[in-house]
């Protein structure tokens, strides 16, 4: 298992391995949060890496999984709801960088 790189409250940005590294795989961070910055809400433990699991691999080494909280106004430029509103998304560690 990979060591945890982030803690509760850390600011993180979602990477896009498909454009950064030409990853042709199974990146499960939704498109709408890629490049966006949020805050670690919870450390969820470690789980099989979906990039390899999707292709019949064993998912090792397990990747730490986090719940990241974003302000909706930071995710959607034209967001029309309240500025209080937020969205939380599960993102694996290797798809995040410190912000």
């Amino acid at each position: 298992m990979m060591d945890h790189a982030f803690q509760l409250g850390d600011r993180v940005q979602v990477r896009d391995l498909e454009t950064e590294e030409g990853l042709k795989g199974h990146m499960r961070a939704p498109l709408y949060c890629r490049g966006k910055t949020g805050e670690i809400e919870r450390v969820c433990g470690a789980f099989g890496n979906p990039e390899t699991l999707a292709y019949g691999g064993d998912g090792t080494p397990a990747q730490p999984l986090y719940r990241v909280r974003f302000k909706q106004i930071d995710v959607w430029p034209g967001y029309t709801g309240s500025w209080h509103d937020s969205i939380e998304i599960e993102v694996y560690q290797h798809w995040l960088r410190a912000a």
């Binding site: 499960r28 961070a29 939704p30 709408y32 919870r42 969820c44 433990g45 789980f47 979906p50 999984l65 719940r67 909706q72 995710v75 959607w76 967001y79 029309t80 709801g81 309240s82 209080h84 509103d85 937020s86 969205i87 939380e88 998304i89 599960e90 993102v91 694996y92």
Partner: protein, 203 residues
């Protein structure tokens, strides 16, 4: 037999998909696997019965217990899967995150990538939960979507969307309604709807 039963006779307005390409393919695959002894026809029926036995009453019972028992509530918010087990419900090894609605925050769940859902606690997911319209809209315009469910969230209350994209499953703990002090746990559970446990409705 006298014609006194209570259903009406309007035509059932649903598309019959039993002869679609995917249905035929699934049927053929099932027959081949039974032929090869991978599983039996009885196994299939037992799995169907198991799927149909799961219902949102499981989740409702957990929330009703939390409403009357502060220790259970704390346990449920800390480790949902472990708290489910103490009431003989099982999340099949998947972690469960239970999120509490408060005066300041209202929570709602979606899975934008597919349709992840805590089936053992809420039963089979409703069709709208799997629709592209719900999955696409509730993340970017959640207040309008909730309004379509008849749920108005005050603008000074944070609306928090949870996109279930990986290994967690989610259930919402609605706010206990006022004037329910005299109700038993069972009566409280009857107030709790599936939509309340997903977060598109309040109780």
């Amino acid at each position: 037999m006298p014609h006194s039963h209570d259903h009406d006779h309007t035509p059932i307005d649903a598309v019959d998909t039993s002869s679609s390409d995917t249905a035929l393919l699934a049927d053929a695959l099932r027959l081949v696997l039974i032929d090869k002894g991978v599983f039996s026809a009885r196994d299939v029926q037992e799995q169907l019965a198991l799927m149909e036995s799961r219902s949102d009453r499981n989740g409702a019972a957990m929330i009703a217990r939390a409403w009357v028992d502060p220790d259970y509530k704390a346990a449920l918010l800390t480790d949902g899967a472990a708290a489910a087990k103490t009431l003989d419900h099982d999340t099949k090894g998947t972690p469960l995150v239970v999120l509490e609605n408060t005066a300041h925050v209202h929570n709602v769940v979606v899975c934008t990538l597919c349709s992840c859902y805590p089936v053992t606690l809420l039963g089979p997911s409703p069709e709208w939960y799997k629709s592209k319209a719900y999955r696409g809209r509730v993340v970017r315009d959640p207040r309008s979507v909730l309004r379509e469910f008849g749920t108005e969230i005050d603008s000074d209350r944070e609306l928090r969307v949870h996109d279930s994209t990986a290994d967690m499953r989610y259930m919402i703990m609605p706010t206990r309604p006022d004037n329910t002090d005299g109700l038993t746990e069972e009566a409280l559970a009857e107030l709790i709807t599936r939509n309340g446990l997903i977060g598109v409705a309040e109780i």
